[in-house]
Symmetry: C2
Subunit: 394 residues, 2 copies
């Protein structure tokens, strides 16, 4: 009796739930400390101390109505000003509050901009491997997700194939860098070429094609790697930012959209995104945390904790013979399965109490995603299992 579309979702999700239940079952048998769960992108590094201090200061400085009340659907003006200033300092842009819409995380922001843009049948392109929810977000507005196949040599976008897949129905391109699930940063060279292709296609088809840059992992870049800022390269770029990982606040659902002045149909985009925020039922991003993040724009989580995990896992796995591009950002490693059927590999890993996600969930079979946002000790204790696994498969 539920909606047909949702019936399909429920059937698919029961597989994921079965995995989750299996993890709980293993923990009950072997003890939670002997089950190595690398399946979830849930930050294990604490929010920086500035967050707690900001909450307490705000509670003491403001009247309750000015903390918990309604505001403009786009968010508090002063918060959006603070965010615009912070971006301008980093990227030499000239945004104002009028370019910023506060959102319920990046997931909320992506839904808002897709609701604003998509007519039924409009195409949205993304590059495999990609975050599986993009398919749902696009489908929510009856768009069609077009997937460009992966370039497994370096996991940069496959631009040759991309070029052929842009059509007059292409309304947007979603990119994610640092990438979930590979940890790869799309290089400046990639971004320049991507932008060049899109400018040519816009001209060819007399259309506007927006790049939606999903950036929950922007601040998680190792070795001071540079993550290109899309609005510097392309006019029709919309940025979806989140504080979920940069401040370890995923449960608080706080992020924002950046819609630059130079984007085509700017006024309608802004008005539409404001209205979409309201009518999708978000209404506004959570009010206290709008004020909190405005005071924590320069705060940072302990990136070195993730980096230690990255080094340990990368050198461990490659020393055993696993093949993997060393991630430059985020907290994921995308490892080639030692056997072609990576779903079977994940099943075998589970027998060693190691929980990892098949690449087919990201449109890239033959690989697995290992989320290393876990305790260092978890990696240390899981490595012998990874070693035994690859040896048994040789």
């Amino acid at each position: 009796m539920i909606a047909t579309k949702m019936q399909v979702q429920v059937e698919n999700s029961s597989v994921i739930r079965a995995m989750f239940e299996e993890g709980k079952r293993l923990a009950a048998i072997h003890g939670a400390e002997n089950v190595f769960d690398f399946s979830l992108g849930n930050p294990n590094v604490e929010a920086p101390p500035e967050v707690k201090l900001a909450i307490i200061d705000i509670l003491n400085e403001y009247e309750a109505m000015d903390i918990h009340g309604y505001m403009n659907n786009s968010g508090y003006e002063e918060v959006r000003d603070a965010i615009a200033d912070s971006i301008n300092k980093k990227f030499a842009t000239s945004f104002t509050q009028n370019n910023i819409i506060m959102t319920v995380g990046a997931a909320g922001g992506l839904n808002v901009i897709l609701k604003t843009l998509l007519n039924p049948g409009d195409e949205v392109i993304t590059f495999a491997p990609y975050f599986g929810e993009y398919r749902n977000y696009v489908s929510n507005y009856d768009g069609v997700l077009v997937v460009v196949s992966p370039k497994t040599t370096d996991f940069q976008p496959n631009l040759a194939e991309f070029k052929d897949k842009v059509t007059p129905r292409t309304k947007a391109v979603i990119i994610c860098s640092p990438n979930n699930p590979t940890g790869v940063i799309y290089s400046e060279d990639t971004i320049i070429k991507l932008a060049d292709i899109l400018r040519a296609k816009q001209k060819e088809f007399s259309t506007d094609i927006y790049i939606i840059s999903d950036e929950p992992y922007r601040e998680l870049a190792y070795d001071d790697a540079k993550v290109p800022y899309l609005p510097q390269y392309y006019d029709n770029a919309v940025v979806g930012y989140s504080f979920s990982k940069s401040l370890s606040l995923p449960g608080e659902r706080i992020g924002y959209l950046v819609i630059p002045d130079q984007a085509s149909d700017f006024e309608n985009l802004i008005s539409g995104a404001n209205i979409a925020t309201r009518i999708l039922g978000f209404v506004n991003a959570p009010s206290l945390f709008q004020r909190v993040i405005a005071r924590c724009l320069d705060a940072k989580v302990d990136l070195e904790a993730y980096n230690r995990n990255r080094e340990l896992l990368y050198y461990g796995l490659t020393s055993f013979g696993y093949q993997c591009a060393k991630p430059e950002g985020a907290f994921y490693m995308f490892v080639k399965s030692p056997i072609a059927d990576e779903v079977e590999f994940c099943r075998l890993a589970k027998q060693k109490n190691i929980l990892i996600v098949p690449g087919s969930s990201f449109g890239c079979p033959g690989y697995v995603r290992i989320a290393y946002c876990v305790a260092y000790k978890t990696i240390e204790r899981a490595l012998p299992g990874f070693k035994a696994l690859i040896e048994e498969l040789k």
Copy 2:
């Protein structure tokens, strides 16, 4: 270049924005204290002190990851347990955490349940006057809103017309009691008859028809008036609750859905709502405020403040000759316009610096909504304007 549906929304919303801008313009000319804005349902009574105490206690008791981290998309188990227990105590129900899904306010909850239920073309019935956003929420999932015309004698639902409007395509009925915009509580007699009609229609058509009870104003009932709890009267009842008004936390976006065991297709409803929460981009209700409201389930805002406003406004307006059903709940009064064209009446009111909303926004022309969640002084100072208005129109 934005979506066609959104283009229409943008054009409509510019009228509302114009009103808002006009309010700001008037405030600049006459001083904010001389502009009487009764247009918004933004609580003016502070959150109870328990809220601030709960926030500080939670910050001190939990690790940051257990406050700000991800949890199940449906929300923290212990929070949902606490809510179920609280409902059970009040209404002699027997809910558990499995019946509760935490949502981004009632607006988020309504979107989640409509996404779960609606196939394109499915009909959703509501009773005029009704909260205008219902039309958008239903349209988001390609449903068709069917409006039952108002019974202006007492603003109880028009059940005779309702009976004729239930069809084999009717998937749900949305009710709101205490009602926005009338403040009327749907009586137990109404609810019993409504449930009887739906049971008969379900049998006649061999369908399931859900009542979705939108309850942001449940705790705002005056003179200890009883607000019937739908699951006690009808099996296929889903409750959408919000703490926006009961705890004056509208900006925090915190509420929940109740889906009773006895609802048809219960397992799929729960799984579907959990998934809808995720894929619509809510992901989960804000995490800190889940814990906060669990500790404030018995806290109350100062209802007497709203009640004083209600008494002053009601006796003032009726003494001048305005006609109005005395509201039993919420913080709205729905007053008959002294002239047939209530949009013109709102325009004339604005000339006296009084901002009110035409009933046509709620599917009920000829009336106006006055939101009295304002300072007592605002009502005192606005009353002479209301008096002059009706006298000039006689």
